[in-house]
Amino acid sequence: MTDSKYFTTTKKGEIFELKAELNSDKKEKKKEAVKKVIASMTVGKDVSALFPDVVNCMQTDNLELKKLVYLYLMNYAKSQPDMAIMAVNTFVKDCEDPNPLIRALAVRTMGCIRVDKITEYLCEPLRKCLKDEDPYVRKTAAVCVAKLHDINAQLVEDQGFLDTLKDLISDSNPMVVANAVAALSEIAESHPSSNLLDLNPQSINKLLTALNECTEWGQIFILDCLANYTPKDDREAQSICERVTPRLSHANSAVVLSAVKVLMKFMEMLSKDLDYYGTLLKKLAPPLVTLLSAEPELQYVALRNINLIVQKRPEILKHEMKVFFVKYNDPIYVKLEKLDIMIRLASQANIAQVLAELKEYATEVDVDFVRKAVRAIGRCAIKVEQSAERCVSTLLDLIQTKVNYVVQEAIVVIKDIFRKYPNKYESVIATLCENLDSLDEPEARAAMIWIVGEYAERIDNADELLESFLEGFHDESTQVQLQLLTAIVKLFLKKPTETQELVQQVLSLATQDSDNPDLRDRGYIYWRLLSTDPVAAKEVVLAEKPLISEETDLIEPTLLDELICYIGTLASVYHKPPSAFVEGGRGVVHKSLPPRTASNESTESPETAPAGAPTGEQPDVIPTQGDLLGDLLNLDLGPPVSGPPLATSSVQMGAVDLLGGGLDSLMGDEPEGIGDTNFGAPPPAAPARVGAPIGSGLSDLFDLTSGVGTLSGSYVAPKTVWLPAMKAKGLEISGTFTRQVGSISMDLQLTNKALQVMTDFAIQFNRNSFGLAPAAPLQVHAPLSPNQTVEISLPLNTVGSVMKMDPLNNLQVAVKNNIDIFYFSTLYPLHILFVEDGKMDRQMFLATWKDIPNENEAQFQIRDCSLNAEAVSTKLQSSNIFTIAKRNVEGQDMLYQSLKLTNGIWVLAELRIQPGNPSFMLSLKCRAPEVSQHVYQAYETILKN
């Protein structure tokens, strides 16, 4: 006999019948009736009309019946609040039942009845159950506090349940501890400021003890709670890691991932020189690999998380390529994720294996998967230079298959390969051209057109090929139209004689017959450029393009760090912070990795030294702080590649020369922003690459806006008195520092307040932090008569000797005249040292930001600044603080900026501006964190003047 019979009631008027049965004297019949009611409820019928009759059955000695009545109550109490009160007495009574199962059942159900009037009556029973002698009741009561808090937070606080809950963390029973931790964590989430969990070394120790004894689920609650704790130093972090590590071998994937989260987070605090750090790295690989034998949904979650882990710490899985190979019966979502990770792990060592696999995949049946596999081959070529040739020949093999979507994907990635390795693989163009007719996807068409335009001089019939596309110009997608326009202009510049007609045709199609403003504008720019100065046009349109790199799909370092804190949760699968998808998530606190705090200084200092510093030269004598910094400052601390990529820097320099920073402020940000995620898209041609030779032709186009850039050079503070007359026998010196178009000078005003004539002036600087020194002698042409004032601009350079000063920007100056030698010291604003080529490449910025340890990050607040993000960018740019990217996150503008000091130190900045809030948040990251404070002051000075 089964329960399924309860579902089969077809009679009309069954409610009445049930009512009669519920009120029957026979217990068996009653129970049957309640089961029928629950069955109806389960399939969605409304049986709320039976409320009083069902509640009447509550007082029963039959446990099964009681559970069913409770179930009914949970479901319908909200729709019948007045009648639900009838149940209160039974609850109170059941909470004192001798059987713990009944007590727990009552307290569990109570919490699920979301009726205000009832909750008050439930406080006393709950209080008793929280102190019950049976752990089964206590663990249920602990969860009930979280339920009650969700209904009425104030009530829970007033009744002191939170304190009782905190006490349960020290309970003798591990399951009670685990549930108390879970409840407190959930409550704490809605009160980010209340220090509810109050984690300290003692409470952490209790949790770690309970961790070994509770159920798998309890372990997850505790691990997730541990992950929110920030150890006080690296020793504490290490000892917690040691006690968490055994969880990595748990059979439950969720336990493993939560343990991985704790370890990944706390590892941040460990010095890489520590033996333990290496041990931990080794221990992390096997459990991550094991996760891939779990059920497919869990594999998917694991893979999404591994994707983050591989970006954060690539060394963990670098030897585990094979486990990410796709199995034929993997679900598609697992296959696609595995491909992603294969590319991330691809290196010279394993590329042969990877390519062989990818080639196999490209012959599978699932179209999405095949496409991604073909793209993956292209990405491997770009990532691992040594494999490029093999990748290209693999792609050619695939093109030979003539499978339409394979060919199209292959052409798209080959275009990227051309961008990465110009003039290397162009021999394959002929093969590509053969497939021209089969391309029906816009991206593939655009890629092919780009290739034809870019290599027009090597393709005999380039004009015919492009002309064939032109026929259906208006039916093409925008992407293809833009590409076609650019390609034909390129063709014209390369073979002007035969293609004049063609170019006129495309220009008129783009400018006169199109409604698309992007297309029209691009058309007009080309048109004017060609008609005013073909030579300039050539240099613009055929300018050298920056090479693309493989790092375009990396997650931004700050976001990555945040996501690491969310391993195992939805956020880690979406690769988005919770605030992006949780409703009402605006108040959610952003999590971040703990900063590194070493317990003893000595482990830290080697870490701050640049990676490239020769280790053999460790001096025997520990240098003084000053010398050490002097050495540090002298070294080129910039990112590993010297100088930004060619094209970017040439844009910068060219523009600066011509317009003193005006033009690049106008155009500099734009193309970077567009380049965003558009990995392989061909360059949006002209404006971005305007180099030095912008002739008069363009100037009228830019006249309107160039006004923005007219203020050239950095902010100059008003002169202040450096040396008062009374201290220098009548000589008064006031001055300030300026930086204009790359040169620093000290603007001095000398006043003779003595009664005698002054002659024979000379000036000398003491050694200082940045090697500032006069570039020329102090030229005072005529003798300075009494009461006479002379203004002099003394050019400075930064090749003098270096010594760390305190404060860093202190400059000691000696001035001599025919009367005596005088000494004074002054502080120079750091922004005079910001160089013009301080704009870091976007990718480099990401990599560097990630690379600089978090302990080097300094945060400042800039108050009372009413500028908007646009104005801030412009203002900072004139002082050589360059905005590399701008993002809008939850209504805040985030500006990512870089600047470079004269000694090669890069400073990376993140400036957070909230519209309407005059306080900005400034985060600075630099390998020499000493300068941060002064950079911040420079920001203040520039923004407020």
Binding site: P100, A104, K139, M175, Y333
Partner: protein
């Protein structure tokens, strides 16, 4: 219309588009689902739920139900809906997985109805013990361990 009623339409839609994923969304609600025989087991969350825990739990539920009913399918749910309610009550409370070991559960959640006065089940001590999977009082004459080595091979 309850949230879960949106699940099937979304599932079908995504399946048709060929972009089916173990996590589906409708408004602010995420559906995390697995399929067993012809049944969908779906968990919902509005928060940044611990998704690894959710999937582990869903598979655990399948395991417990299978151990209780031999085969878990639509029919076995109809036939046992009362006990399924009882089990769900013990398996999870307010979104927190609790006791999921079927051996232990079978000690106090049984298919026969019980009178409260006589021999009503009580929670076994093992429910909240450190070693939850081993009932109390088991003794063997020989101390030995048996290990199953399972190897899976993937080939075509």
């Amino acid at each position: 219309m309850s949230e879960v009623e949106h699940f099937m339409p979304i599932l079908m839609e995504k399946e048709e588009e060929g972009v089916l994923s173990p996590i589906l969304a409708h408004g602010g609600v995420r559906f995390m689902w697995i399929k067993h025989n012809n049944l969908y087991l779906v968990a919902t969350s509005k928060k940044n739920a611990c998704v690894s825990l959710v999937f582990s739990f869903l598979y655990k539920v399948v395991q417990v139900f299978s151990e209780y009913f031999k085969e878990l399918e639509e029919e076995s749910i109809r036939d046992n809906f009362v006990i399924i309610y009882e089990l769900l009550d013990e398996l999870m409370d307010f979104g927190y997985p609790q006791t999921t070991d079927s051996k232990i559960l079978q000690e106090y959640i049984t298919q026969e109805g019980h009178k409260l006065e006589t021999g009503a089940p009580r929670p076994p001590a093992t429910v909240t013990n450190a070693v939850s999977w081993r009932s109390e009082g088991i003794k063997y004459r020989k101390n030995e361990v048996f290990l199953d080595v399972i190897e899976s091979v993937n080939l075509l």
